[in-house]
Structure formats: structure tokens, C-alpha cells
Amino acid sequence: MKKLPQDISELDKRIRAAKNKKEKQPKHASARWVVFLQNAFRMSIEFVSPIFIGICVGYILDKWFDTRVIFMLIMAIFGCAAGVLNLYRAAQSMEKDLNGSK
């Protein structure tokens, strides 16, 4: 087993140098694959979930005001808009991550 350096600041320097070296290394291909898989999972559900929530809220409002499917339709359209907005935001954050990792 290697002997520990007497001076703790020297050890700190060595740890920092090792960390910097590690950070500069490009991401492993498998790590990128996990990120892509995560993005694929995210994109699909980010779009669908606001539509579902919109339909649920619309259904509750229709029951409440004793109307037919008016609120359900309106909220489904709002849900589509929210889904597109979510996709746009998710794509923005992914682009930011991609540019950051380059």
C-alpha cells in the first residue's frame, strides 16, 4: 500500500488533478446510449401526459357544470398545446446538455 503524503495540501492537489483529468475524458459510448434511451422515454411521455391530464380535467369540469363534452374537447386542445410546449422545452434542455458535453 502506498504511503500517504505528509502534506495534506499536496494530496488535495493530486485529487484535483485526477478529477480534472477524469472530467476531460470524453463520455463513454454506453453512457451516451443511456442518455439517448432516457431522452426517448422522456419525449414520448412528455407529449402524451398533458393531453391525458387535459382530458381528465375537462371530464371533471363537464361533470361539474353538467355540460356534454365541451370542456373535455377544449382541455384536450390545451393539453395538445401543453404537450408541444413540453416537447420544445425538453428538446431545449437536451440541446443544452449536448452542447455542454461537447
Binding site: Q38, R42, V48, P50, G79, A82
Partner: protein
Amino acid sequence: MESPLEQFEIKKIIPWQWEGIDLSFTNSALCMLITVSVIFITFTLCLHKRQIVPTMGQAFSESIYDFIQSMIGETLGKDGLKYVSLIFTLFTFIALGNMLGLFPYSFTFTSHIAAVGTLSVFFLVLNIIFGIKRRGLGYFHTFFPHGLPWIMAPLIIPVETLSLLAKPFSLTIRLAVNMSVGHIMLKVLGSFIVTMGIFGFIPLIADMCIIMFELFVTLLQAYIYTTLSCVYLSQAISDEE
């Protein structure tokens, strides 16, 4: 033969009714309790003697902590480091809950929309509280950004509200569905091992491969859940609109 969906059935262990509300202690609650106990005991044992040169247990705990810290650093920046304990708890709870569900006669509480949904809604409420604490009333500009004409309010406010409400839903569905599907697949293939007789080794090998894949999925899903929670938290506390 048992249905593949029977493994998700909630069974009462200690029945308890209070004012018409069912507060029974179920197999789901027992598994959550086991998960929390395992996390608590593991980390207490690993970290009870903290040393400069870490033991294997300490190195293991520190590596998980370091992983969460770097994940928060990437999504929330240096300001997010105060949330490390919250995100660490979330990650270990979900990851271990997913993994314990792979044991025979165990119960996967993360496959239940009610359990994961409650956790996600709790996290959404925390996001709102942190957002208001950090940005004050400016948090509500998330629903109606600066500079937009007032005439757009009836369009933008419902869209932004639905977008916010969809966050816990998307987190919940992603985790619960992935966990349920994997377990159903395991059970279906497992039933073929006996019924196929001498050729039962074919589904057995397939089942073994799927168990390895499921082990990977349990960690991946915990990672995705935690990363997205960090992203949502960063959206709530960031000053950008």
C-alpha cells in the same frame, strides 16, 4: 395457474379502519418499510466509522453520494447542492424499491400508480414551495411570462397549468409502467418453464436474461426519475421564464 397480474395485488396485513377510511397496513407498506430500513441500516453500518482512507462500505456510500452530487451539479448548478439530501433520498428509495421487487414473494410498490403518484405529487408540491421561497410571487410568472399581451392570458395560463400538472403524471407513468411490464414478462415466461416440460430450459434461459435486463432497468428508471425531478426542480427555481 396464477394470473401474471396477481403479483400486484394489495393484501392487508393489519386491517385498520378509521372514520370510514381504510388505513390498513398492506404488503405495499411493508415493502416500503423494508426498503427504508435496508437503506438506513446499510448507510449506518457503512458510515459509522468515517476515515480519510475509506473502507469499502464508506467508498460505496460516498460514490453514490458523489454520483447524485454530480447529477445535481449538471442540472441545477452550484445553487442546487443544498437539495442533495432530498434527491439522494429519492434516488436510493426508488432504486432499492425497484430492486427489492425482483426478489421472489416480494412486492414492487413502484409498479403502483398510487404509491409513485403520491411521491410525484409530493415532489411537485415541494417544487412549488421551493419556487415561491426562491422567487417569491415571481414564481407565478411561470404561468404567464413577462412581456406577453394580456389578451393571451386565457390561452397561456391553462396551457402552462396543464404543463405543470402533467409533470408528476409523466414521472409516475414512466416508472410504474416500466416496472409492471418487466414483472409481467418475467411471470409469463416463468409459467412456460413448467408447462413446456423438457424444453423448459428455453424460457428459463430467456427468464435469466430478462432478470439481468430488469436489474439494469431498475437502476435506469431510478436514474431517469431522479434526473427528471432535478430538471423540474431547476425549472421551478430558475429565474428564466
